[in-house]
Subunit: 283 residues, 2 copies
């Protein structure tokens, strides 16, 4: 039976009691709710790798810009709880905004400035600062041995890996593969915003990713060629507006000239007013 906890003190007591009992690997899956099969895959991975699993469910205001979708971000507490429990969560941590931001949203920040203005951070100023801040708070509350994130948010993974290393946190970041719908669209809570027409247009993101993967499989490694090719794929769907198409070192988020093993190919684009992302880690 999954427990629902609302305060940091309760979550920390849960974690410390488990740790004191000895040998318990504690897993954390941070989410903003609106859970889908991508989240379920993270929870199942945590379930497989840890003795006890907490899923946090918190729509974090500090990672949304003033003109973004914080207010309308999908919230579905009952369905989320059912999905988390079915996927194997022992604890659902669902704090209020006041619980995580007792002095308001503009008080203490955690930031990785050398990474946080890249990729999504370039078009969403303050986004990664908000992510780093809330994930630090969640890590300090749950004190997990492992925390599970989706590769879909590849720049977020880079920021959190760096932050975790810099703060010398005892938490291992585990990255799980992108989960896709049958037609290739990467799962995202924001897919719910798409009209049927936008939903079809949005397939251009995964098409561009697959196209670049196939070029690389065929031996093409030159970034200018790969990027131009991806732009060509997007050009066929002018309704979708490109934000970025990039080949980067996944750790530093610096652009590369030659795609190597582990290079991140990442795209972001707007379908209507919905911003979507997709990526691949090249073999």
């Amino acid at each position: 039976m999954m427990q629902v906890l609302r305060t940091v003190a309760e979550l920390r007591r849960w974690s410390r009691t488990l740790r004191a009992a000895g040998g318990n690997i504690i897993g954390l899956v941070p989410t903003m709710g609106a859970l889908h099969e991508g989240h379920a895959s993270l929870i199942r991975a945590a379930r497989a790798g840890c003795a006890q699993v907490a899923v946090s469910l918190f729509v974090n205001p500090t990672q949304f810009g003033p003109n973004e979708d914080f207010a309308r971000y999908p919230r579905s507490f009952e369905a989320d709880g059912a999905l988390a429990e079915a996927a194997g969560a022992d604890v659902l941590f669902a704090p209020t905004v006041e619980e995580l931001y007792p002095n308001g949203a503009e008080s203490t920040f955690v930031d990785v400035p050398i990474l946080s203005d890249r990729l999504d951070g370039a078009s969403r100023p303050g986004h990664f600062r908000g992510v780093a801040t809330v994930v630090t708070k969640l890590f300090l509350a749950a004190e997990p041995d492992r925390a599970y994130f989706g590769q879909k948010d590849a720049a977020q993974v880079a920021v959190l890996r760096r932050m975790t290393a810099d703060l010398r946190l005892a938490t291992e970041i585990v990255v799980c593969p992108i989960v896709r719908d049958a037609d290739g669209l990467a799962l995202s809570s924001r897919n719910a915003y798409l009209t049927p027409a936008e939903r079809t247009q949005a397939l251009v993101l995964s098409r561009a990713v697959r196209h670049v993967e196939s070029l690389v499989a065929g031996g093409e490694r030159r970034a200018p060629i790969l990027l131009a090719s991806a732009h060509g794929v997007f050009a066929a769907v002018p309704e979708v507006r490109v934000d970025y198409i990039a080949l980067l070192d996944w750790a530093t988020l610096d652009p590369v000239e030659i795609a190597a093993s582990g290079t991140l190919f990442a795209v972001a684009a707007w379908a209507g007013s919905t911003r979507l992302i997709d990526n691949a880690i090249l073999p």
Copy 2:
């Protein structure tokens, strides 16, 4: 016999082993070394209040400005170890810069922007961001129940109390009284920089603090009167250059018009090239 630990992993293992054993209150006294009787009073307070006490000894590069005294800051490892052990430390944590900043000094930061440009932060840009960053790392490494700081660094205390509350850390900040030499000078590792003449001139700081305390004891509560009076005390020693003289709410660092119980009276001034601070919390 005091243990010397050099890595975050060792310190965390020490702390988690104690916590798992149950009922152990763990104390941390963060210092930059060059220990004096003020630090000893913190360590003794920790000794009295905790089952086990760690003293950290780390000259933190990120809290020094580019033209400040990082390179010449006094370092005295052997004497510091002896003082810490005599005062009751169980563990001396003395990491390298690389251990606490594995990706260099400019990677991940913790900051409290609404407080960190006040008082000492105004004349030392980046100082409190460096303090908040290193103290977060030390708290994450030692996971202490209580951490001990001197009231002498009153603005630092305000920043760290806010940061600890915002990050929902499980650490209680304990503030210990200012320790003074017989003539009234507040103890500071930087007093070692003073020439004999500067040492005498520097007494104007504690004189101004005592003067304001005596005016308040006599019933004067109006900030403009108290501040003008303190400026008058400094005017008698023109060799000492005032940085700030302020009456503030200790939590928000906002100036007050009327001194109340708990109001912070704080001064900073240069004696020669040495910047000194002093303060009182008004009754």
